[in-house]
Each structure stands twice: as C-alpha cells, then as structure tokens.
C-alpha cells in the first residue's frame, strides 16, 4: 500500500531513562494513529487523537512494564474496555516498543495482529477483548482480586468511555470494586462526549459523573485529559493514595485533538478522511507540535 505521505518519525530510545518528553510521546502516538487511520481511510481516529495524552502519561509516566516481555508478571495491567479505541492503544503500544512499528501498516488488514477492534488473543500488550462494551471494569475487578491474592503490587488501569457508562455491567464493577477495597484499580474514563448516535450527554446524559463514582465509593479526580501536567498529577495522586478504595480519573478530552480541521467536524465518532487530507492532517499535527 502507499504510505508515502507518512514518513516514520525517528524514534527515541524506549528505555526507562529516555528523555523524550510526554508531549513528544503524545505527538508520536497521534502520528502513529493517523498513519494507521490512513491505511483504512476511516475509523476511530478522533478518539485516538483525543485520548493520546492520557495514553502518553499512562505508558510513559505511570505504568511499569517491559516492552520485550509483554506478559511480565510484575507489569501494570492496562485493560482497554472500548475495543474500537484499539487504534489508539496500538499507537501507544508501538511507541512503547511492545508492538513493532513496521506492523503499523497492517492495521485492520487481513491476518494482521492489529484488528479494528482490540482483542487479547491478537495483540501483544492487549490484556482483554473489549468491544462488547461494558466488560472492562467488571473484568478489572477479577484482575485486581487475582493480583491481591498473589500479593502483587501491580496496578490495573482500565480505560472506558462516557458512552459506555450506559452499560449496567460498568456499575456492577464499580460497586464491587469499592466493596473489595480495590486500591490497585485505577479507572480512566475518556469523556469526549461523542458516541455512535451523537453527543453522549444527549444520548443518555451521564452526568454528574464525579458524584456518581463518589457515591459508589471511589476516589474521584476530574481533569482536562489533554493537559499533560494535570494528567501527571492525577496519575500520581491515584497511584500514591493511601485510602483503600478504587480510584478514577475522569478525563475530559477533545475529539480529534491536534488536527484542527478534524476537531471541527460535528459528527466525528467514525471519521471518514479523504485520501488527500491525510497529508494535511499530518502536517497540521507536526505544525502544532512545533508551534
């Protein structure tokens, strides 16, 4: 396939001592996502661009893992409940060195390890099969209980979305997590106010989100999910909290963040981008990085 429009960015070292800034990590995650989007010509690109800062902070500030050993017992677990966000997670896994960068062009193609909807059996670093929405948080309860049985110090991060909050199983998980005092669970809600049939706040309003999770017994933080510094502080607070309760970071993000002409599209749950627009998107992303 023709990917001449998207030259790979030189990659910095993936080592723990890497001095690549989190801003740069987020930029590279976005770039990876755009290059994958170009393979399909369409997809959940706006979500990936929106959540890239969250993933950058998760994978390059908060989480413990070994790129060369995805099943390392002492890793922190990252559960992607929203299977269609796979493009975003692949972009982060590539940046983290868990998935080789040259597989990027196979996104969503036949016999790829990077299918459109994320599945545990396909992709290194993918812990669960999401996609049937509402599974992640209930699964996370089991991961957390298992880790506690093993007296592990690993955290379980679970990323789910505002629209997904309509699934009752999310609330079964939320209730149970506080009952079991799962202080090794860090939930992350991506609030981009966009779901398949329109703005999440209109489809079935999900607010007041902080109060809802607080009433379920969670430690709640709400941050601008596109503000790296705020995210770093929130992840630090969540990890270092002494209270024996599950923690949630509600992240308000902007769909298609970093590519202005895509940000401005009203319905961007599943973006169609014309062939000539990919280069423009990459250029705008690159320009935003240096501006």
């Amino acid at each position: 396939m023709n990917t001449s429009t998207s030259e790979p960015v030189p990659r910095a070292s993936q080592s723990a001592l890497s001095n690549v800034s989190l801003v740069d990590r987020a930029y590279r995650i976005r770039r990876n996502a755009l290059r994958m989007g170009e393979v399909q010509g369409q997809g959940y690109i706006a979500q990936a661009l929106g959540v890239a800062d969250v993933l950058a902070v998760a994978y390059f500030h908060a989480m413990r893992y070994r790129p060369e050993e995805p099943e390392w017992e002492e890793r922190d677990r990252f559960l992607l409940s929203i299977g269609h966000y796979a493009i975003a997670l692949y972009a982060a896994l590539i940046e983290a060195g868990i998935v080789p960068e040259d597989e990027l062009e196979s996104y969503g193609t036949d016999d790829s390890r990077l299918p459109m909807s994320g599945m545990a059996a396909y992709t290194p670093g993918m812990e669960i099969t999401g996609g049937s929405l509402g599974h992640g948080l209930a699964l996370a309860v089991g991961f957390c209980l298992g880790l506690k049985r093993k007296k592990s110090s690993s955290f379980v991060y679970c990323l789910f979305s505002d629209g997904e909050l309509g699934e009752g199983s999310i609330w079964e998980g939320a209730w149970s997590a506080s009952h079991w005092k799962l202080d090794n669970l860090i939930g992350i809600v991506d609030v981009n106010n966009q779901q398949a049939d329109g703005p999440a706040s209109q489809v079935t309003g999900f607010e007041p989100l902080e109060a809802r999770f607080e009433s379920f017994g969670w430690h709640v933080q709400r941050v601008n999910g596109n503000d790296i510094d705020a995210l770093v502080a929130a992840f630090d607070t969540a990890r270092n909290l002494a209270e024996p309760k599950p923690r949630i970071i509600i992240c308000d993000t902007k769909m298609a963040k970093g590519v202005p002409f895509l940000e401005q599209r009203e319905r961007n749950h599943f973006l169609r981008v014309e062939p000539h627009e990919w280069q423009k998107a990459l250029e705008l992303l690159d320009a935003g990085r240096t501006s």
Partner: protein, 350 residues
C-alpha cells in the same frame, strides 16, 4: 401460547366452594425453589459438588470459588466454609461474577463460578462468550436448576441452556446424572484445560451410578445397560429416569439399552455412532432440556451426517414452550420426563 389468567382453575370449583383436589390425587405444592429430585426410597448424597470441590482445593491451591448470591443454593457454601479466604461473594451481579472469574483466571487462578443456569445462560452470556470462551480461559461455570428442576416457572427453568452454550465455540458442556458423577466430574473438569459449563444437581442428590461400575471421563459416553430393542441415549437426570424405565420395560419384555452421554460438547461421536449403528434398535434421545438445540438434535445431526439411520428415532425432551409453574413431580409427568411418562412414550412408539 398465552395463558388465560382470568379463568379460574376448574378443579377449584365455583368460588366459595373451597375445593382442594380429589382424595385419590392430592394436589402437590411447588414448595421450595429447589425440590429434591430423589424419589422417596432413593439413596442420596448431600452437596456432592461442594464437598468434592472443597476436597480438591486441598491439593489445588489455584482453585477459587465465586458466586452471585447463590452459594447455599449451589452447594458452594461447603467450599466457602472449608476455604473462606478462597471464596468470593460477588453479590447479585452475574455479569460481574463471570467477568471477575475471567479476570482471576487471567491472573492464573482456576475459578469455579456458580449461579443458576438461567442467569448464566441468559444474563451473563455475552460475558461468558467474550471474556471466557473466546479467551479459552480456565473457568468452570457450575449452575444449579438446569432444565426443568424447579417449579418456579420460566424465570428459573433453564430449559434452553444447552442450546445456548452448544452454539458457543471452545466451551465444554457437562450434564451429570447423579451425586456419584458430580463427585467424579469436579476433579475431571479441573484437570481439563479450558472453559467448562456444568449443570448441577444440588442438595440431597440421588445416588445411582455407583452401582454401575461407572467412571466419569470428560468427552466420553458410556453404556450403562445393554438392550436389543431400544437404545436410550441420555444425559443428566434423564439417565436415571432411563435406567428406571428400562427396568420397568424389561417386565414387558422390552429390552432397553442406556447410553449415558454426560458430555454434550464435544460429543463422543464414535461411541454414539457405534451404538446407534447396531441393527434393529430404535434410538430414543432423552434430555432434561427443550427439544430445540440440545442432545437430541446433536445426536440427530450426527447420525444424519454420518449416514446412520436407525429403524426409528425419537426424542424425549421438553416442549418448545414456556413451562408451567407447579410441583416438580407434576411437571415431570406433564412434560414427559418422569419414569412413567418415559415408559409410556417408549411403549407407544414400539
């Protein structure tokens, strides 16, 4: 079919007369959620699943038990008492029960998750499908009230659980007959690497197969009794009904063989084909399940695909209906699962 709730039951007589049934046939009461399946003189064993799991867990530290507010009614309370730190009460939340079991399996444990068959099959199906079966996780889902084993009506009668799970790739389906088999099945399904759905009889469970020199093996069908006129292929509690019916029919010079098929999936095709191929025997499949999608259709499909055509093929199964509430013996008579009903059906077909 719709019920007419505005028609007074005829047996009550006119309002105010206070009829209570006739003296020669008293009306039975539905009684507890889980009525014992044992006949008045039948030998039983208490809580075979709970005791077997508690014992097995002594040597298998990775075993954990989870339930959704039904420990007592799935006999898991025996395990919970023996291993309190390995018991997880997940509350009345079956989607969570299954997901948490999946998560624990991903962390290397072997969860036994219990609830009622209706709730696993209907309410938690998507979670069993995506979190457990697709991942081929080592979770054992053990469910009470399979088929028609309660008089509480369709909300609790899992008449289609096997049909639902037969369509699910990767999962092994076990329908044990009695206490003896349940005791043997617990270590056997633990030794089997992969997801298992097992139907459970709980409480005082009839004890039958210990007299047949029987040993449960995952994936194996076994002849319990030979016979030249009729071959009953059965699973679950219908095997004990088949054995009793065979005994009754032998008094009428009808020679009935019984092939017990406790593993519905994967089916022991070789044994079924071998026995069904024997000339001259009517094949009757008997199951505690709707006639749609259970053992009967599995066997029928196998025989058709393999070009094996017995002189006659019949099914003893529940009708494709939402069944009545009532007392279990009444319902088993009504829907053809009792020994007398099985005997009568077979006689009628000969």
């Amino acid at each position: 079919m719709r019920r007419s709730k505005y028609t007074r039951p005829a047996w009550l007589g006119e309002q105010g007369e206070g009829g209570q049934g006739t003296a020669d046939k008293p009306r039975l009461t539905t009684s507890a959620m889980i009525a014992s399946l044992a006949g008045p003189d039948q030998r039983t064993k208490p809580a075979p699943f709970g005791h077997a799991l508690a014992a097995l867990a002594e040597s298998r530290p990775e075993i954990v038990g989870l339930t959704a507010d039904l420990a007592k009614y799935t006999d898991l309370h025996i395990f919970a008492k023996a291993h309190p730190d390995r018991f997880y009460q997940m509350g009345m939340a079956e989607q969570l029960l299954i997901s948490a079991a999946a998560g624990m399996a991903r962390e290397g444990f072997m969860p036994f998750a219990t609830t009622y068959a209706v709730f696993a099959a209907r309410r938690a199906y998507d979670f069993i499908c995506m979190a457990i079966a697709e991942e081929y996780l080592n979770v054992k889902i053990v469910c009470a009230l399979p088929g028609l084993t309660t008089g509480y009506g369709p909300s609790h009668q899992a008449t289609e659980d096997i049909a639902i799970f037969r369509g699910l790739p990767n999962i092994t389906i076990i329908d044990p007959c009695d206490a003896h088999e349940i005791e043997q099945a617990v270590p056997a399904i633990a030794a089997h690497d992969g997801p298992v759905y097992m139907r459970l009889l709980r409480g005082n469970v009839p004890l039958v197969l210990d007299e047949y020199d029987y040993k449960f093996e995952v994936g194996k069908a076994k002849m319990l009794r030979d016979g030249n006129d009729v071959l009953i292929i059965s699973s679950g509690l219908m095997t004990m009904r088949a054995l009793e019916a065979a005994e009754t029919l032998s008094n009428d010079n009808v020679d009935v063989g019984v092939l017990h098929v406790p593993t519905i999936k994967p089916l022991d095709e070789a044994t079924i084909l071998k026995e069904a191929s024997r000339t001259g025997r009517m094949v009757v499949v008997a199951e505690n399940h709707t006639i749609v999608g259970g053992l009967g259709e599995a066997v029928a499909g196998l025989l058709m695909r393999s070009g094996v055509f017995p002189p006659a093929f019949r099914q003893i199964a529940l009708p494709d209906e939402f069944l009545d509430a009532g007392a279990l013996p009444t319902l088993h008579d009504r829907y053809g699962l009792s020994v007398s009903a099985v005997t009568g059906s077979i006689k009628g077909w000969l």
